[in-house]
């Protein structure tokens, strides 16, 4: 079943760091800095989907935005087809931008309520000055058909659509410039389950048809499992585990990944007993714990976890984990 796709790296992220400075509370107080993304590295192969999963505030959305240049990058390298995004001139960047798009989480607030659906979809063509009016109209018709909307719905305003249809408009807008790479930032979180299935089906179809590469951001592990080839689990701004889909779900290594997986509410009742419960909340990213970030909620934490921050290492071929321990965890039955 292995498709003959050459494993060409489309996007390479190296040690990405994004920091947000907070307002000083007084002249003499220290400047506090939120380390939203703190040294994240991954590659995405062409035509594949990388899933970023984690709880709110773990930096998954910021990572996606940083790749597209929507927030400033403090450190690290972004290579798109081996070209460093930081070294590009404004004009080159503008051209490259056409090939990278985003689908936002909330289809209600990401559409201009005063524009018709058709105008929203052809807006990117206007911005990048592509085609004349007739060509743009043709492209819009094409896009509406592609995402499963009727042609005559172009003249309606966003409030006249349901949530699922609005997300279809957002997808059409993201596809308008024929991108290669799309950041899907929680594209189905705001939708009802029945509609969620429609949108996921649509995204998978489009990916096959148009050979798209996705960075798929979600907090929902079931959704991630359904669409992603490779998955990176984030916690407090870093990746704690990264593996392909089968390895991550069948053989999770990091205690956080395990807890996350076992916290998912499933329809079957057999999981109720063997659940790992995490205590407390995610620590504040301004004063993150010393050493391992997860140690405050981890049941395996030892002295070394306080002193030293674990690095992301390849523990099995293709299976990366940032944890000091390897064997002790597997012995302890969890």
């Amino acid at each position: 079943m292995e498709k003959n796709v050459q494993n060409k790296i489309l996007l390479k992220v190296e040690n990405l760091k994004v920091q947000f400075k907070l307002k000083r509370t007084s002249w003499f107080s220290e400047q506090s800095v939120v380390h939203a993304v703190d040294g994240v590295s991954f590659n995405i192969n062409k035509g594949k989907t990388l899933g970023l999963v984690g709880e709110s505030g773990c930096g998954k959305t910021t990572t996606g935005r940083a790749i597209l240049g929507l927030v400033n990058v403090n450190e690290g390298k972004l290579l798109f087809e081996n070209r460093d995004l930081a070294s590009l001139s404004l004009g080159e960047m503008l051209r490259l931008r056409q090939r990278m798009q985003i689908i936002f989480q909330d289809p209600y607030s990401s559409l201009n309520p005063r524009q018709t659906a058709g105008d929203i979809v052809l807006d990117p063509l206007v911005v990048h000055n592509i085609g004349n009016q007739k060509e743009r109209q043709e492209r819009t018709d094409e896009l509406f058909a592609l995402v499963g909307l009727r042609k005559n719905q172009q003249y309606l305003y966003p409030h006249q659509f349901s949530g699922g249809q609005r997300q279809r408009i957002c997808i059409a807008r993201a596809l308008a410039l024929n991108p290669d790479f799309i950041v899907c930032d929680e594209p189905v979180s705001a939708l009802d389950v029945a509609i969620q299935a429609q949108i996921l089906n649509l995204l998978c179809e489009l990916q096959d048809e148009l050979d798209l590469t996705f960075l798929f951001i979600s907090h929902d592990l079931a959704v991630i499992q359904h669409v992603c080839d490779e998955i990176a689990v984030m916690y407090l701004g870093t990746i704690v585990e990264k593996a392909d889909r089968v390895a991550l779900f069948n053989n999770p290594q990091h205690p956080y990944t395990r807890a996350l997986l076992s916290a998912v509410l499933t329809g079957s009742s057999d999981k109720k007993t063997s659940r790992i419960r995490l205590e407390g909340d995610i620590p504040n990213p301004i004063n993150k714990p010393s050493g391992c970030r997860f140690r405050t909620r981890c049941s395996f934490s030892k002295e070394i976890c306080v002193e030293q921050e674990p690095v992301l290492e390849e523990k099995y071929p293709g299976h990366w984990e940032a944890c000091h321990f390897r064997t002790s965890k597997t012995q302890a039955s969890i």
Binding site: V193, L200, D220, L221, Q225, L260, T266, G267, D281
Partner: protein
């Protein structure tokens, strides 16, 4: 075969009969809730599940007689809580019932808490509303309540403001507030929707603990079948203001009858242990939820239903299959399904 309105089961702490809610929009009356019947036993959890706009939250508001009026009103139906007719109570009497016998945990803990009062202030206000005690002892009780919902260092937290707390913590405060008078019925309206999975699991554990301790009956309103299977004994599936199916958790999960329930469960993603189903086409329910302003005649799910026939142009009655199992679909009539 056609269901009689639920008789007064003496085991039921709450009985809802033919509950309908209408909203007036621009002079037009929209039917939001249509003749919903159900009962709730002591210590039982009933999950109400459905897509947004199906009337699940409105059911909860109606039970507390908190339907925003105008434009809304309870146009029909009876609600009995502990044999007390909720519909006939005066404003003063209903205020005594709310919080004491039935109370509610709201969906959004950030908007449900007042941002300019401290947690302690808000809890004390609630306590003093219901109990004739002075402020100092109310404060003590508030600290005890916070401890019972497992908030660390409650003496310190009590003087903090909602913005200083995390989402999970705020939801715990909401639960504490709902528990002030040890109500017999607790309505939880999407209590974990705004929370992360690990925190969500903590909140459900807490609710179960409270239920075991106080024999509380819980109505859990959610769109997440995972949450329902975690908590509920019995499940009510709603669609466009109708109760379209009811049964025990096992019945709904393993042998759903209504095509909508089947579709809803089918389109749900579950974590799998094998690599099956990767990027496979998910079954979807075509179309979207009907416009309540222009209701069509016949079955509300008819236009989206794969098994619809001409018979579905007539409104199907609710077929009672005994033991609180009921389905609103013509398919059941001749025993086909």
């Amino acid at each position: 075969m056609i269901s009689e309105a639920t008789e007064f089961d003496p085991n039921n702490i709450l009985t809802v009969k033919d509950l309908s809610v209408d909203f007036d929009v621009k002079g037009q009356s929209i039917n939001i809730l249509s003749k919903v019947n159900f009962g709730l036993k002591r210590g039982e959890t009933v999950g109400i599940i459905g897509e947004s706009g199906c009337g699940k939250s409105m059911t909860a508001l109606a039970l507390l007689r908190m339907v925003p009026s105008p434009p809304g009103k309870i146009s029909n139906g009876e609600i009995f809580l502990n044999k007390k007719d909720i519909m006939s109570l005066s404003k003063r009497e209903i205020n005594r019932v709310r919080g004491r016998e039935i109370s509610m945990i709201f969906q959004e803990p950030m908007t449900a808490l007042n941002p300019v009062y401290s947690i302690g202030n808000q809890l004390v206000e609630t306590i003093q509303q219901h109990k004739p005690i002075d402020r100092a002892s109310a404060m003590e009780e508030a600290i005890e309540l916070l401890r019972s919902v497992q908030i660390p260092a409650p003496e310190k937290r009590i003087s903090e403001y909602p913005y200083q707390l995390s989402g999970g913590m705020r939801q715990r405060i909401m639960i504490a507030m709902a528990l002030v008078c040890n109500p017999q019925v607790l309505i939880a309206d999407e209590p974990t929707t705004a929370l992360d999975v690990t925190v969500q699991a903590q909140i459900f554990d807490l609710l179960k603990k409270i239920q075991n301790k106080n024999k509380t009956s819980i109505i859990l309103i959610t769109h997440d079948f995972g949450a329902v299977s975690e908590m509920a004994d019995r499940v009510i599936v709603m669609y466009a203001g109708f109760k379209i199916e009811e049964g025990t958790l096992e019945e709904i999960r393993n042998s759903p009858i209504h095509p909508y329930t089947k579709g809803l469960l089918g389109s749900m993603l579950e974590l799998k242990t094998d690599s099956a189903g990767f990027r496979e086409r998910l079954p979807e329910i075509r179309g979207s939820v009907p416009d309540l302003l222009n209701r069509q005649a016949g079955c509300p799910f008819g236009p989206r239903c794969e098994s619809a026939t001409t018979r579905c142009l007539q409104m199907p009655p609710t077929f009672d299959l005994g033991d609180n199992r009921s389905v609103m679909c013509w398919l059941v009539e001749n025993g086909e399904n």
